[in-house]
């Protein structure tokens, strides 16, 4: 039971970590909390559905869906955020809210207000058994995919020049430009990565929920935001830590809270978040940022 709940927590935390990372990457570079991140997920979800309906094999459909998320993120930056470059954090935030609402309306009117079923392949419902211990295929996939994505991102950020430049840009964007590295390349890459992460998270999310609806992205982006803030806004290791922490807390409360208190679960989680922020106002692993006069 306990081992099982740990797996559940890691599986959920992994998805939150991917989403929070996506938010954090963009925030660390352009100071934007992209609330339309959830709609990137929704879009990937619909792309998966469409690809499956068109008869693409499942792996191809997933590839198409994730790429759609990534490209949509880049397009979103070009169309909505680039004209706002250099604007205040507040105006950027409001722009992202506007983009998010607009996309929701487009999904509702263009597709349907009602959830659309996404039939997952049969092998996703099943379980491995080790003795009397069973672990579901669903959570296993979540854990493996999140782990691989986190490792791949880490390798990219450590090894590649662009990745290194992104870490540097999070600290001091101007100086990165002084090195001759184009700002637009860094920003586009940041959005591309965040879109990839949103697309991957969407796949895991849809695999667990078997449907997509226009408001699908709302809850996860909220959770990701909480995770990113708890971890230290703009800090990538912080986002991952925050994501896993949130997953653990949610599963723990879900598993142990008596039914009568269950409705207050979200309130309890948020109180926990506030407590963390009181003790560590900059989050668990604060972002490094150049101190400038």
């Amino acid at each position: 039971m306990i081992a099982q709940q740990i797996i559940n927590a890691v599986s959920l935390g992994g998805v939150y970590a991917l989403l929070a990372l996506g938010l954090a990457i963009v925030f660390s570079i352009v100071g934007l909390i992209n609330f339309a991140h959830g709609e990137l997920m929704t879009l990937s979800g619909y792309a998966l559905l469409a690809s499956l309906v068109l008869g693409f094999p499942f792996p191809v459909a997933v590839l198409v869906a994730v790429s759609c998320g990534a490209l949509a993120a880049v397009a979103m930056e070009r169309i909505a955020f680039r004209p706002m470059r250099g604007a205040s954090v507040t105006s950027l935030l409001l722009t992202s809210f506007a983009v998010s609402s607009l996309l929701k309306v487009v999904f509702q009117n263009g597709i349907s207000a009602r959830p659309q079923a996404v039939a997952m392949p049969g092998w996703m419902t099943g379980a491995f058994s080790f003795g009397d211990f069973t672990i579901g295929v669903g959570p296993s996939i979540s854990i493996v995919v999140s782990a691989l994505a986190l490792i791949a991102l880490e390798v990219f950020l450590r090894r590649s020049v662009t990745g290194t430049a992104m870490r540097a840009a999070a600290e001091d964007f101007d100086v990165v430009r002084l090195m001759g590295i184009p700002a637009s390349r860094i920003i586009a890459t940041a959005f591309l990565l965040s879109g990839l992460l949103a697309g991957l998270a969407a796949m895991l999310w849809v695999a667990q929920r078997a449907s997509v609806d226009p408001l699908m992205g709302f809850t996860p982006v909220l959770k990701a935001f909480i995770a990113a803030v708890v971890g230290g806004l703009g800090s990538l290791p912080g986002a991952v830590a925050g994501g896993f922490l949130l997953g653990v807390i949610e599963v723990l409360l879900q598993a142990t809270l008596p039914g009568a208190i269950a409705p207050y679960r979200d309130a309890i989680v948020l109180s926990g978040v506030i407590a963390v922020l009181l003790v560590r106002p900059q989050g668990l692993i604060p972002a490094v940022r150049a101190q400038r006069s």
Binding site: R167, A168, E171, D174, R177, L178, M179, I181, V288, A290
Partner: protein, 234 residues
């Protein structure tokens, strides 16, 4: 090589630089001196593309670079070592250097260049895998200069390289600057330490309240009454 013509810089309503004209010839060291807030850093920033120019022109190698992005200017061969060093604290020395040489040259060339830098700054070899933020102020200054040199600039803009360094280290930095000039680099040097700057520079420009108040050869200025009273404490 570089000429700044009637440069004006505004931050909102504040006119930080009213009018600056200066030229730097190839292979020269020009010192730009002046009191706090005179507009020295703003002028360097405008040359490097970080600070928007209100009016006037910046010409590099005969090309008008006014209003170009910092990355475009860097690619033309102008490197700025900003005030306060601004090394990437969370990145290792190796990564700081790597970014400095990231886009101007093929990877193999960047390797060679890095080897040169490590020869020039042995301390950086010692701390190669250490995070920039953990270096001492002097080491960070070395790193900042090395990082700027990684891109093989033809001209380097140094903003107060001696700031906050122990006297001994200041000497090291100035020796280095002299060495760089010997290698053919053109240098625009902003310094609070006017005596040292005049010692090393060919010519100097004095700024006050965003305007050039005096310019000439370093020798001339060192013996000028105004400079002696205001900056050399004599």
């Amino acid at each position: 090589m570089l000429s700044v013509e009637a440069l004006k810089i505004r931050y909102g309503e504040v006119e930080a630089v009213r009018r600056v004209d200066l030229t730097v010839d190839s292979g020269e060291i020009i010192a730009l001196v002046g009191a706090n807030g005179a507009g020295k850093s703003s002028t360097l920033g405008a040359v490097a593309g970080l600070v928007p120019v209100a009016s006037g022109k910046v010409i590099f190698d005969g090309v008008d670079i006014t209003g170009l992005t910092p990355e475009a200017i860097a690619r033309k061969g102008v490197a700025l070592v900003p005030e306060g060093r601004r090394i990437f604290a969370s990145l290792t020395v190796a990564d700081n250097l790597r970014l400095g040489g990231a886009v101007h040259q093929p990877v193999a060339e960047a390797r060679l260049r890095e080897e040169e830098m490590l020869e020039l700054f042995p301390i950086l070899r010692r701390y190669y895998r250490v995070k920039g933020g953990n270096l001492s102020g002097g080491e960070q200054q070395m790193l900042a200069i090395a990082r700027a040199l990684m891109g093989k600039p033809r001209m380097i803009l140094l903003d107060e390289p001696s700031l906050g360094l122990a006297p001994q280290l200041i000497d090291t930095v100035f020796d280095l600057i002299a060495e760089l000039r010997r290698k053919g680099l053109t240098i625009l040097l902003v310094e609070q330490n006017v005596a040292l700057a005049l010692e090393i520079a060919d010519r100097a420009v004095v700024l006050a309240n965003g305007e050039v108040v005096l310019s000439g050869t370093a020798k001339e200025l060192a013996s000028s009454d105004l400079v002696r009273q205001a900056y050399l404490g004599a």
